[in-house]
Amino acid sequence: MTTAISLNQAIAAQVHDGDTVALEGFTHLIPFAAAHEIIRQRRRDLTLVRMTPDLIYDQMIGAGCAKKLVFSWGGNPGVGSLRRFRDAIENSWPVPLEIEEHSHAGMANRYVAGASGMPFTVMKGYAGTSLPDNTKNVAFIDCPFTGETVAAVAAINPDVGIVHAQRADREGNIQIWGIAGVQREVLLASTRTIVTVEEVVDELDPRPRDIVIPAMAVDFVCEVPGGARPSYALGYYERDNEAYRAWDGISRDRSHFTAWLSEKVLDIT
């Protein structure tokens, strides 16, 4: 079922205005190239789902793609704030941004429920915190065997799930090594999927502690070398920590950000 096409075609085919879209990758393998293509295609009113919005959603939010953000930790890791995210929440720039926030465990379990074809799953957590007051997607239910109260979280099933991976074979089987985050879960939970990869190869020869995600979960594979920069792809290139530090200055004011967006994203074809 997997088709190898250009990223431009894949985004045009799969991502529509108003969709719920998850671009995942936990620090590792963040699909920046796909995000930039969505920005270039000027998608609007997206509900963006992601555990750690990171620079990738800071850029999409600043570019005006998002109407809502579902997330669990919205910082620039080791650096500080996400300034476009804050500007959208605090000042509705460039458009108002609705938010729904969870814990990492809650988000991970919401993806697990989605991947499992369940409307919800159960976990310990949220109890005693202020988080449930601000979302409809957490409830508390009683164990039918012990009576113990546990948290229930609603499944997330994005319209489109997009991840980056190191490699794919020509059948569309996907290979990842290093930090795997929720890449598998978001592909399985999403109605439509795109995977950008460093390279398409004939044979996925094993790499240390790798996982393979079978092609059944993949609609489109796009070969995009460097597609995770300034995040990293273990075995290909390292995290560009300087770019993460530099983002703090670039994103600090709107005009500086807008200039960056034109030069580094919109004007690239």
Partner: protein, 257 residues
Amino acid sequence: MSESTGTAAEAWTADEIMSIVGSRALRDGMSCFVGIGIPSTVANLARRTHAPNLVLIYESGPIGSKPSHLPLSIGDGELATTADAVVAVPEMFNYWLQGGHVDMGYLTAAQIDRFGNLNSTIVGSDYGAPDVRLPGAGGAPEIAASCREVTIIMRHNVRAFVPEVDFVTSVGFGDGAGFRKKHGLTGGGPQTVITDLGILRPDSGDGELTLTAVHPGVKTEDVLASTQWPLRVAREVGVTEPPTPGELEALRALKSS
């Protein structure tokens, strides 16, 4: 306490003694779920000093990481390549953390209250229009819920030490005795709060934080003045051991790595 150029005994900053005392809370061979920021510095310092067999666990998936330099994010490549195992994020939270296998969780936050509850979400009284929007929860709520014990490290001042947090991101002892049990929080909660002024521990009765030690040169009045509620003080307030030259050297080498 600011930068010092004085005698050997004063030759450290407030942040340095906080980190060093923080590292001492970790025992060799234990497993520690390491939060973003200072906790990562402190845990890596412990591994380079008295706890070489500390099992570092990062929420991104690595278990047993042995990084050669301080990672900027909790998902740097070296954390994975030096780990005993790297697990998917749902497995990390459900099996390893929630399953009760982690000895200590190490956290920081923007606000802490008298019962050790933490806020890393918003400053202000209106969630919809916060004075300051902070990064949010991340892994902290479940670390606080499920680790056998929690250690908290943060700078001590009246903005951070508030009677009641603006938003409960992570539960300490809630509103006091019985709260954790009532809410099914299986871990032991915050047993140690380490600041740049001293150490606080929960009252064994209701869990209210109590000053038990100050760092060398810090007075109990300094701590009271830096806390927005009338802080309980132990009958005997100890004084922490000053940093050793070896600890200071290891910390400075780590920070510059």
